[in-house]
Structures are given as C-alpha cells and as structure tokens.
C-alpha cells in the first residue's frame, strides 16, 4: 500500500459505481438492446474484481464473502428453474411463460415477466460463479508485493 497507487484508487472509486450501474442497465435493457443476464453478470463481477485488484482481496472478501457469492450463484440457478416450476403449477409446460399469469393470446405481461426473471437468475448465477472462480484463484496468494511484478 504505497503512495503511488493513489491515482489508481481515485479513478477506481469513480469507475466502480458507473460499472455497476452499467451492469444493471445492460440487464434491465436487455429486451431492447444488446446484452442480457450473461453480460450483466460478468460486468457486475468485473466491478468487484476491479475493486479487489485496487484495494486488495481482503476488504473485498469482507464486503462480499465467498459463501455469499456461492449462494447467489446457486439461488440464480434455482430462480431460473423455479420459473419453470411456476409455469407448470399454473397448468402450462415447463418454462412456458404464457402460462405464468394464465393469459389469453395477445397479452404479453407473462412473457415479459418470465424473461426478466430468468434473466435475473442468469445474472445471479453468472456473477456469483465468476466471483467464486476469481476468489478461488486470488484467495490462494495472500498479497503480491510491487517488486514481484
């Protein structure tokens, strides 16, 4: 933690919130523009990775614990699969979004809701898995001194 990292730290402090907001934008705007849960999940994970590269792995693991990251990944997958079970409980086929709200033809709320929810599941699973993989790699080495580079 020497002084010459101060520029990196200030720039990262500005960038990380913007990256996070951009990740959510990519997710919620996925119906209208390129992008979706996969890309949004990776962008959110990248924001956390950038934080840990600048401020160290320890404060990152205190903010987002490894167990939390794994839990989010599992919950995301369950959320996706759960939408399928929900549509089956409403009398449709697995992942048949029309059945979610028992809509007539010509109504699209169920389709839009299904897509947003499963994309949220994708986002959680991808972001959680990426952060878990990163922690598995980065957690093994404690800290790297500047001379090592």
């Amino acid at each position: 933690m020497t002084d010459h990292h101060v520029v990196l730290r200030v720039v990262a402090k500005v960038l990380i919130p913007i990256i996070t907001i951009y990740g959510f934008y990519v997710h919620f705007h996925g119906e209208y523009s390129p992008g979706g849960g996969f890309q949004a999940g990776v962008i959110l994970a990248v924001a956390l990775v950038l934080y840990s590269l600048i401020f160290g792995i320890k404060p990152t693991m205190e903010a987002v614990t490894p167990g939390f990251a794994r839990g989010v990944a599992g919950l995301g997958f369950l959320l996706y699969a759960g939408v399928g079970v929900w549509s089956m409980m409403m009398g449709g086929n697995y992942l048949q979004y029309n059945a979610l709200l028992r809509e007539e033809a010509g109504e699209f709320v169920g389709q839009h809701m299904g897509i947003i929810i499963i994309e949220l599941g994708v986002l959680m699973a991808v972001a959680g898995a990426m952060v878990s993989i990163y922690y598995a790699f980065a957690g093994r080495v404690t800290e790297i001194s500047d001379e090592d580079w």
Binding site: V26, G30, E31, Y32, S33, P34, G35, G36, F38, Q39, V42, I43, A45, V46, V49, L53, I57, K58, M61, E62, P66, G67, R70, A73, G74, G76, F77, Y80, A81, G84, L95, Y97, F108, Q111, H112, G114, I115, I118, E119, G121, V122, A125, V126, G128, A129, M130, S132, I133, Y134, Y135, A136, F137, A138, G139, R140, V141, T142, E143, I144, W149
Partner: protein, 210 residues
C-alpha cells in the same frame, strides 16, 4: 475476378483487413513471446480486437460477450492462474516436438481453409441461416413475445431450455473450480472471520490441512 469484387464495399473490406491482420500479428506475438504476463495481456487485446470485428460483422451481442468475458474476466483469471504458477515459459529443447506441433497446426489450418470454401457468403440471403428458422423467429417474435430484441426472445423464451442448461453449466463450472482450488480461499475466509491480521506463511499449506 473483377466481377467478384464488384459487390464489395471498399471501406468495409479495408476495415476487415485491418482488424484481421491485427489479430494475426497479435497471434504471432503470443506464439513468439516467453513472458506470460505479456501473453495474458495480449490475449485480452486479442479478445477486444475480435469484439470490434464482431461489431463490424453486425453480431453485437456476441461482441458484447466477447468484450466482457474474453477481455475482462478471462484476462483476470489468466493473471490469477499465472500468479499461482510461473511468470515465464521456456521453449522446449525437444526439436521433434516443434516439428510435430507445426505439422498439426498446418494440417488443422489447411482443413479449416478447405472447409471455409463451402461456407455461404457473408449476408447471403440464400444461406441456411437466413432462410431457415431464423426468418420464422424474426416474424414470430413481435406477435408472440412483443419485445424488440429478437436475440433476447430466442435466448430467453424460444430456447429457454438451452439457456437453463447453460446457466447450469456456468454454475457447475464455478462450483468445480471452487472445489478444486477453493482451499486457500477458505483459509483466507476463516482468517478474516477470526479477525486475525497476520498473513499466513503459506496459504496453500494452510489450506491442505483441513
């Protein structure tokens, strides 16, 4: 020859040539370099340039994924793997290996070039991609799902099953890496939980004990 060139937009052709030759130069540099740090960064740049090329081919979603995953996350993961293993690579002294590798590379390249002769032209309206089921998705997305982005409609609704499987693969890949490598992470997590500030002498050894 001139008839074949008649329909080609010169600016697009120049852009493609520039991007592809940049990719070629980066690939040669990656093969020649011995410093793994430079190789990892060049691989990230390779991903970024190919993302730009995907945009030139109108594959914006693929370009987005390539930029986020290829240039972002995998560069960081390669760096993490490099820190755990070695910083430089040595050329193998075994000359026979070099010859075998060169033969395999040339053979695979020749097969790919041979296969590319049969590919339909870029944007060909009679290609299987633009005559088959793709047209149907384009026509049905508006009346059936009512969202503007057909890629999202196909990915999340028409092919929801496939995407579920894909998410399962990503989840299991993450779980697999954590189970293989996660001991150090667990050791560091436990250390954080105890509130201990001192660094362990060797995170790997500490992890193997539990």
């Amino acid at each position: 020859m001139m008839e074949a060139l008649a329909g080609i937009d010169l600016s697009v052709a120049l852009l493609n040539i520039t991007l592809l030759s940049t990719l070629f130069v980066i690939a040669i540099a990656i093969a020649r370099l011995r410093s793994l740090f430079a190789i990892v960064l060049l691989a990230g740049i390779y991903s970024l340039v190919s993302a730009v090329w995907f945009i030139a081919l109108d594959a914006v979603d693929v370009a987005f994924t390539e930029a986020a995953v290829g240039a972002g996350i995998s560069t960081v993961l390669f760096l993490g793997a490099m820190v755990l293993t070695a910083r430089t690579a040595q050329a193998s002294p075994n000359k026979a290996r070099h010859v075998i590798s060169a033969l395999v590379v040339i053979a695979v390249g020749a097969v790919l070039v041979y296969a590319s002769i049969d590919l339909p032209g870029f944007g060909d309206p009679n290609s299987p991609a633009s005559t088959h089921i793709g047209v149907e998705f384009l026509a049905r997305t508006k009346p059936e799902i009512d969202i503007p982005n057909v890629v999202t409609a196909v990915l999340a609704s028409y092919r929801g099953f496939d995407t579920l499987g894909e998410v399962g693969v990503v989840f299991m890949a993450g779980l697999g890496v954590v189970m293989l490598l996660g001991f150090g992470e667990r050791a560091l997590g436990a250390q954080l939980k105890q509130g201990g500030n001192d660094e362990p002498e060797d995170a790997d050894l500490g992890g193997l004990d539990d």
